[in-house]
Symmetry: C2
Subunit: 342 residues, 2 copies
DNA sequence: ATGAAAGCGCTAACAT
DNA sequence: ATGTTAGCGCTTTCAT
């Protein structure tokens, strides 16, 4: 099947001005909602715009304003599985909603590997976007440096590995993990395992640190065989749980560093014939308000996404408007909750 | 925590020219890999570019070339659950990979509702992108019209509802569904149910049509109570399966119009105490090569994503280069396979 | 309130 | 092979 279709002719400001019988400057003022235009002129311009179906040319405008009115949300994730983590969807939805009533556009950029990260770095530096929100950063990712060195307004979702001066918004991962493990201890558990997140991600590191801190605070020792690294996916959680059960069949509790992994861990426990929570108690850490079908309901540390997403854009916009001067960070409080089964 | 950081000064072509001791035109030629430059000049320019960390200004370039070297992949999906469908991830990954060695950039745009679709329409019309790949189109989405009327190069992933002249790439949904149901019939099943996709999406409609055609071809009648509409999610599949079992406990097979839904259906069958495939045979339709953990292995119609993603970009690029003249479509063959359990 | 004019940084003829 | 020049479509002083 082949057919043809003429490319639409794109009208310019001058054509609108001609049709409306005013100057380009006036049309520009109308388009940009300047108050210094007479009602008659405004009306004439408006109707000319409608008639010609005029849309301003972004490139021309951006060339002079130095603004694109576009911000990028970068998903830095080689693991396709993780791309479908509900956490991403929630952040995207949240940021998108925050921007809905503004005239800012949101674009998503994904990087599977270093090459794509560099491509994104170039994309941003060329002036396609006014600022960047960076998600899912791994310890060896070059993109934060590329962007920071270019002076690009930048907010990271999750604190950076080093103590660099960069804006970020994060959940209290360490504190949340402490609460989780302390809860398990409080309910009488003593052989408490953990399934960690990827340890090249700060959320993985912080949640493990919180877990260990809670054990230490209770005078419990942390054993390497009670720690298994997962990858934030359901399948990875199941594998890690199997591995833990193999290493120490007597374990009576597990703190799982993300809810998708917790769902996987629960099914691994069921396969192994362990009852939850009678034999093994489980606490998760939610990477979104996951409406998971898990029976029994999952006790979990709730990450305050509703707080985090507006902050992300707020911090970025402040940086963009303030010519990139202010670097600030926020840590949002987490809390222990019980998710009903679906 | 607050700190300051100077905004980097951005060098222009002229500054590079000055430093390299050549004209702007020569610098431009080097940047654009023109062969008409002497090796010495090229070297001088290269080092000046490196020294100044020069990056061309996209807006200025695009203003004259009328190209942005960016294409958009639009995810048209109000349902967040579906956003995490592995099908999306696979398409994004595939298109992204196809573009990796080119100097084309890919941006993802998501629309939760009509307002956001219109915003995306404006974004595209303003000249941010050279072309658009549209995914997950529902029957009442305004975006295809907005884009088509603006003369924006456009390829749809999935055929349009009406017989409009628009490029698209699709799997053979109808044919695949026919094969699926015919397979169930061939193995002796007679009370064959189906869990459909959303019927405001063409894939949902086509797969149902194929299912019905296979029944008709075998002289079997299709009953409304043996058809339940799902939403392409795992939870939706489980709900639909429960509903079907309630309406006809005697059913002996089910064709499920997507693999995530099939996973849900399998767990609903297990909960209901039905053995698979002894009591109820199941055939899915994969929305990606989903590495689903299902036991027993799932028989499914494989959608040829490896064929589809390069086609998507190929058709779009041809349209962009050919000034939007050619409209063409491709339907990729599907086949019955058996997915091993993970 | 409106228009004239300059210029954003780049590419692409056209000259040489 | 290289330089000169003329815009691309818009915003923004600066006049009026």
């Amino acid at each position: 099947m082949t057919d043809t279709m003429p490319r639409a002719a794109v009208p310019t400001l001058d054509e609108v001005a001609l049709l409306a019988g005013v100057s380009r400057a006036t049309v520009s003022r109308v388009v940009n909602d300047s108050p210094r235009v007479s009602p008659e002129a405004r009306a004439a311009v408006r109707s000319a715009i409608a008639e010609l179906r005029y849309v301003p040319n972004r490139m021309a405008r951006s060339l002079v304003t130095r603004r694109t009115d576009t911000i990028a949300l970068v998903l830095n994730e080689p693991n396709t599985q993780v791309f479908s983590d509900p956490f991403f969807a929630s952040i995207v939805r949240g940021v998108s909603a925050t921007l809905a009533d503004t005239d800012l556009n949101l674009v998503l950029l994904t990087a599977q590997d270093e090459r794509e990260q560099e491509k994104i770095g170039r994309y941003a530096r060329m002036g396609h976007v006014d600022g960047v929100i960076l998600m899912s950063v791994h310890s060896d990712d070059p993109l934060p440096d590329i962007l920071a060195e270019a002076g690009m307004p930048l907010v990271m979702c999750g604190r950076p590995f080093d103590d660099r001066a960069v804006s970020y918004v994060d959940a209290d991962n360490r504190g949340g993990a402490e609460v989780a493990t302390a809860h398990l201890i409080a309910t009488g558990r003593r052989r408490i395992a953990t399934i960690t997140g990827p340890l090249d991600m700060i959320a993985g590191v912080d949640r493990l640190a919180g877990h260990r801190a809670a054990l230490a605070a209770a005078g419990l020792q942390s054993f390497p065989q009670l720690e298994a690294e997962g990858d934030f996916t359901e399948a990875g959680g199941a594998r890690a749980m199997e591995s833990l059960l193999g290493r120490d069949p007597e374990l009576d509790a597990v703190f799982v560093a993300s809810d998708p992994m917790a769902v996987g861990a629960l099914s691994a426990l069921r396969v192994a014939g362990r009852r939850v929570p009678e034999d093994v108690a489980v606490v998760g850490f939610d990477d979104a308000a996951v409406a998971t079908r898990c029976d029994p309901p999952l006790t979990t540390i709730a990450q305050p996404l509703a707080d985090m997403t507006p902050l992300l854009t707020e911090l970025l916009l402040r940086q963009i408007e303030g010519a990139g001067e202010a670097v600030e960070s926020r840590v949002c409080r987490t809390s222990l909750v019980r998710r009903a089964s679906a």
